[in-house]
């Protein structure tokens, strides 16, 4: 593990043991988050990005879910092997998480102050007064107007954007080194989304915090992340620095996604489409999981039978596609 790496996941596999069979929700996922930077996991619903986040927090619902292989190294420790007691000291303290739904992630019967104070006192030795003062202070940091009044209000008295700010305040109250943001703005309007993303950026600068950003919105990724992994059907299809990914996507799935986005300023008659649907994790196709939807792979024998693994190509990028440039350089002179 490098010195500037904060979190390093290696070969992570998560299975869900359901009545219909074993669903491989995350398969052999490896990535690392650098200190003070934003790493984005992007993909469509069901691709395994949220389960990856939950396994970092050791919150995969068990049963039916279980981390079956791999390790998650955080600050010299493997979180997968940590006891629940030790994990509790990490969770919410060193690694904090914010969720998509600001409406349901706050407890409606406690004031927001009580909820933030609880988080503070769980991890820090602070008197009641100190904790309340700190709660007001973090509310001020997330730019909530009149924090001394807001701290004694209930979640229902606040708008969606405000509640998400409260969630962020709670998450940063213990100055975590890593913030996992799982679709932090999906439930919000665009003008509020922009405010929240700006806020996260500012807090990241101030606190030198790393962010693992989980989203389906490629626009947000390009604007906010420095590195990105594109997930498809439980695996990473492509991993790269953000700029190169958007300049020149290597995996046909990423290429298709980028082409199929309607954009402001686009004036064509039809949108590009990726045919077919995301496969069901109980019945993944053989070979490359993208081959039934891939313009190259749907007719290629090798794509249909042998699954390509994530491999390094030039520029420090990684991709899992037989046809990506440089993928097979070593053993096939034709490519």
């Amino acid at each position: 593990m490098n010195n500037d790496t904060l979190l390093d996941a290696q070969g992570l596999c998560v299975d869900f043991f359901t009545e219909e069979g074993i669903a491989h929700a995350v398969q052999n996922v490896s990535f690392s988050v650098k200190k003070g930077q934003t790493f984005a996991l992007v993909g469509e619903s069901g691709c395994g990005k949220s389960v990856t986040a939950l396994s970092i927090m050791q919150l995969v619902p068990d049963p039916p879910g279980k981390i079956v292989a791999g390790q998650i190294n955080f600050d010299g420790r493997n979180l997968v092997e940590l006891s629940e007691k030790c994990m509790r000291a990490v969770r919410g303290n060193r690694i904090a998480m914010i969720f998509q739904e600001p409406m349901t992630s706050l407890n409606p019967v406690y004031t927001v102050g009580e909820q933030i104070v609880e988080a503070i006192q769980l991890h820090q030795k602070k008197s009641e007064t100190e904790a309340w003062n700190l709660a007001v202070e973090v509310l001020r940091q997330v730019q909530i107007p009149d924090p001394a009044q807001r701290v004694i209000e209930y979640p229902h008295q606040m708008s969606g954007g405000m509640r998400q700010r409260v969630m962020i305040a709670m998450a940063i109250s213990c100055k975590p080194q890593l913030l996992i943001a799982d679709e932090p703005t999906t439930a919000l309007d665009v003008t509020i989304q922009a405010q929240i993303l700006d806020l996260l950026g500012e807090l990241q600068q101030q606190n030198k915090m790393s962010i693992l950003l989980i989203t389906h919105d490629l626009g947000i990724v390009e604007e906010r992340a420095s590195e990105v992994a594109v997930m498809y059907a439980s695996k990473i299809a492509e991993k790269s620095d953000c700029k190169s990914l958007f300049d020149k996507p290597l995996h046909p799935y990423t290429q298709g996604l980028l082409k199929s986005l309607p954009r402001v300023g686009f004036s064509g008659k039809r949108l590009h489409t990726i045919s077919g649907v995301v496969p069901d994790p109980l019945h993944f196709p053989t070979g490359c999981k993208f081959h039934p939807r891939c313009p190259i792979g749907c007719t290629d024998k090798r794509c249909q039978t042998i699954e390509p693994q994530l491999r390094k190509v030039e520029g420090g990028r990684e991709v899992a596609c037989w046809y990506a440039p440089g993928y097979e350089k070593h053993d096939d002179p034709k490519l």
Binding site: S159, F246, V264
Partner: protein, 330 residues
């Protein structure tokens, strides 16, 4: 009802000064203490075979407009002229007749299909109700429409849970089109779908429009989707239209400060203007106690004292009669 000659000035649907207010009741006697002006004086007209877009953030009243058009809500005042008939003044029989020509596509492909009904009966029900078609004829028509929306005919005996989100949205579209309506209201038709599925549905809606010369009222919050799908766009804020223009004009030359801010708030891929982004402060204010003056005043970066005097009317921009803006400082 005379539907053959249209003297609606070439418009299929005309909405005139539509107001839908919801009473706010308080106290023991449930007295009305105020009104939520969900739709407050909205006017627009839609030409046949074109797509009219309504954009805005949540709570701005765009869905209420759609529901008011279909009279699914009690409307406070205004006119909705569809093919020479005022929907808001129509009697029961006329209303049923009109609703045959207008259909709805909903946002949530999971909540809008009855889980206990087969796809065949979901899609076929409008035919039974409006045209009294049953049996083999019904099945034939359902199969035909299924193939039009890109589903195989054997879906007819299956249930909604057997389909993915995108396929369910196709089923919803098939149900909306089975009566061959003239006018389709699409209420956030793709916002619940994944990116790769979204483009399939947007293309499908366009193809069907070309084939059946459909007129769409397209409600969405995603400006990129709106620009791709719509010919004319109206931007709503707090129950009012603040800007109304042909789609290309609006996206190349947004004038209202709210439209400008809305556009710069979208995270875009490869946006050369990212440095010039403009952020809106604050949130949409409480709609119950709306102060006098421009509703956008508290958040507007160009607000002046004169904005507080009255609510600016929606008027054409000089030399561009098709571009309407409700702002005094353009």
């Amino acid at each position: 009802m005379n539907t053959t000659i249209s003297n609606n000035n070439g418009f299929l649907l005309k909405v005139d000064d539509l107001k839908t207010y919801f009473p706010v009741k308080k106290g023991l006697m449930r007295r009305t203490v105020g009104y939520i002006k969900a739709v407050d004086g909205v006017s627009f007209a839609i030409k046949p075979a074109l797509t009219f877009g309504l954009v805005g953030e949540s709570g701005c009243g765009k869905t209420t407009v759609a529901r008011s058009i279909l009279r699914l809500l009690p409307v406070t005042s205004g006119k909705v002229i569809f093919d020479n008939t005022d929907i808001l003044a129509a009697d029961k029989k006329q209303l049923k007749d009109i609703r045959r020509h207008i259909s709805l596509i909903f946002q949530d492909p999971f909540g809008s299909l009855n889980p206990r009904m087969t796809i065949g009966s979901i899609i076929g029900e409008p035919l039974k109700v409006h045209k009294k078609i049953t049996g083999k004829n019904l099945a034939e028509q359902v199969c035909l429409i299924l193939s039009k929306v890109g589903l195989s005919p054997d879906a007819i005996n299956r249930y909604p849970h057997e389909f993915s989100g995108g396929q369910r949205q196709r089923i919803g579209i098939a149900r909306a089109l089975i009566l061959q309506p003239k006018f389709v209201i699409c209420d956030e038709p793709v916002s619940a779908l994944d990116v790769s599925i979204q483009s399939q549905i947007l293309n499908l809606l366009k193809d069907l429009q070309d084939e059946f010369s459909l007129t769409y009222l397209f409600i969405a919050h995603d400006l990129a989707v709106v620009q791709f799908s719509c010919d004319v766009v109206a931007v709503m804020y707090m129950g009012r239209i603040v800007e109304h223009a042909p789609a290309n004009e609006l996206f190349n030359n947004p004038l209202h400060p709210y439209t400008v801010a809305l556009m710069s708030a979208i995270p875009r891929i490869k946006d050369p203007n990212r440095q010039r982004q403009q952020r809106l402060k604050g949130e949409v204010p409480d709609i119950i106690n709306q102060p006098a003056g421009c509703p956008f005043y508290p958040r507007c970066p160009y607000a002046k004292d004169s904005c507080l005097s009255d609510n600016p009317p929606l008027v054409p921009v000089p030399e561009r009669p098709e571009h309407l803006v409700a702002c005094r400082h353009i």
